[in-house]
Subunit: 336 residues, 2 copies
DNA sequence: CTGTTAGCGCATTCAT
DNA sequence: ATGAATGCGCTAACAG
């Protein structure tokens, strides 16, 4: 089923069909109607692939994430897909499964697909991965250069403010030792790692000024099979254990709660999570969080990409990050 | 950057480059090495799009889901992406946002992209949507015809068995009135609706035999802004209210728990959810569920699609559905 | 207003 | 073993 078939069916040349489809150039109203009718009847849709051969635009963008496990990634994809869709784009989703090699291979595949742009959800491959995009002149967000700096500082500003609100509240509640739970592996990453480290630094400084001890607890890996994090369990039972726990990541929160089971919240320990979801509010007690609107972030990031593809200069105007400290019942005065 | 540039750089013709790349036909070892070197140096990747113009295979599949909100969809996508990736395919993800029109439009776009196949996560558009795939001869799973029947019965068998285990346990615990919480909207859908109805029927029959009343509670829509389902709240406070609640869907579970807040679990009410996740086990008390391995299902479904694309006949051999009733502490004897 | 023609980047004959 | 030529489905420039 090609444009040729339609042309034959309508008794015109392929050029006329093309013009009728694209509303481009001159074509008699009557002829146009006939062509459109043939099209409908034959169920013809012009091949985007052939079309992109000529236009050198594929109307396709790639979205690359590390792992499709964290519900936050879903929020992210939802934003990307929605925005892309509104702009007439379609989204190629690839997961690097946390491997830099796989990530580079996936990026090469995006190159082969000649995507118009790429949204970087999480980058695990660092500079070498970015080099691939640069080398092939593929538009991408977060973007390189000065705008990236603006984006980062916007992100950091939002996140730092919310983090400070959280930290201050914990201090106010009398906590003297706080645990910050991470997956070290995530912290090491260049892209998201940057953000995570920024948050951590803010907290560290704030606490150090107030004489509060901040422990970095590495969960090592996500527990499976209903087992729970030995690291957290051990750390929470030690003498002088932290009285407040912060999960650096929404996906870590349930694991943390599971490991803290046996301790009463917030009587024995206070709990805070980064990232909000219905589960955090449905939990009893409802969990205090620092919410970040990932969907919104993805939308503004993708809008930025589409503009960039259209050759519009990137500005900070798009940036739409929002982080908020939402206090619920999972934090309370430090015990004793 | 095209094959031409590589040819020029290596001092050979484009035909030779093509042969060197694809390991196809004769090409002197020395020449091949030179070409490959040029390729690497220039960072060239052959355009999949141009390639597919000739081969009429795009090495692309589409995955269509209703909404990118339910974490279960993420499990699904993860399975699809992984399996597709292993087969050298790349995945175009589109969401219909619950609208049949948008779904059909998305399918038309898949047609335009000439995808080799489509994985139907959730279909909201019914026969008319399927007709699009049929008309364009696009391979898809779940497949039409007799294999579909086999798939369905496999699914229903697994799910029914687990559902019966659950129902029997509730009866055993002395529950005389059970609420089954749904989003009616979902139930009406042709594809997933079928499955949901099958489960419900099993439960209805089982309970009717045992003289247990089964209420269908429609949550109408997912609450927002920290409000909770009025329907559930009202129903749970009425005289003679159900003593056990079943959420037909993993995403409904936290909303149900939220609405049931104030009642003690399992002393006042027992709770069961369809679909498992770390949150269900991290909740206190841990929630009893009927788990379904969506990731595995997606993988086997996608494997089936890839085989189908390769012209292999579809058999029931691929089917790999697993449902299990997992009793945790959220269910107990009926009060009074 | 409409038809003919020339590529877009690649794989594949068919010659050499 | 290699190169020149053809065509995949489409759009755009040019001719009529």
């Amino acid at each position: 089923m090609t444009i040729k078939d339609v042309a034959a069916h309508a008794g015109v040349s392929i050029a006329t069909v093309s013009r009728a489809i694209n509303d481009n150039g001159y074509v008699a109203a009557e002829v146009k109607a006939r062509v459109l009718a043939s099209m409908k009847q034959l169920g013809f849709r012009p091949s985007e692939r052939a079309r992109s051969m000529r236009s050198s635009r594929t109307m396709t963008i790639g979205a690359i994430v590390s792992e499709l496990v964290n519900p936050v990634h879903l929020e992210f994809l939802r934003g990307v897909e929605k925005t892309a869709n509104e702009g007439g784009y379609v989204v190629l989703v690839v997961s690097s499964q946390g491997s830099p090699d796989k990530e580079r291979e996936s990026l090469q595949r995006m190159v082969a697909e000649r995507v118009d742009g790429v949204v970087l959800g999480t980058l695990v491959g660092g500079r070498k991965s970015l080099a691939i995009l640069a080398e092939h002149n593929i538009a991408h967000v977060p973007p390189p250069g000065p705008v990236a700096a603006a984006l980062n500082s916007a992100w950091v500003a939002e996140e730092s403010a919310a983090t400070r609100d959280m930290g201050r509240r914990l201090i106010e509640l009398g906590h003297r030792r706080v645990a910050y739970v991470v997956l070290q592996e995530t912290l090491d990453r260049r892209s998201s790692g940057f953000h995570h480290r920024a948050r951590f630094e803010v907290l560290k400084e704030l606490f150090s000024d107030a004489g509060v001890t901040l422990d970095l607890v590495d969960m090592a890996r996500l527990p499976t099979d209903g087992s729970c994090s030995e690291e957290v369990v051990a750390h929470s039972r030690a003498p002088g254990a932290p009285t407040a726990w912060v999960a650096c990541n929404h996906i870590l929160l349930p694991y943390l709660l599971d490991a803290l089971s046996g301790l009463r919240i917030p009587d024995d320990v206070s709990v805070v999570g980064y990232g909000d979801s219905i589960w955090a509010t449905a939990y009893r007690p409802p969990i205090t969080v620092i919410s970040h609107d990932t969907y919104r972030e993805a939308r503004s990031l993708t809008a930025m990409l589409l503009d960039s593809i259209d050759g519009k200069p990137l500005t900070s105007a798009h940036i739409d990050y929002r982080s908020r400290f939402i206090e619920r019942e999972s934090i309370g005065p430090a015990p004793r």
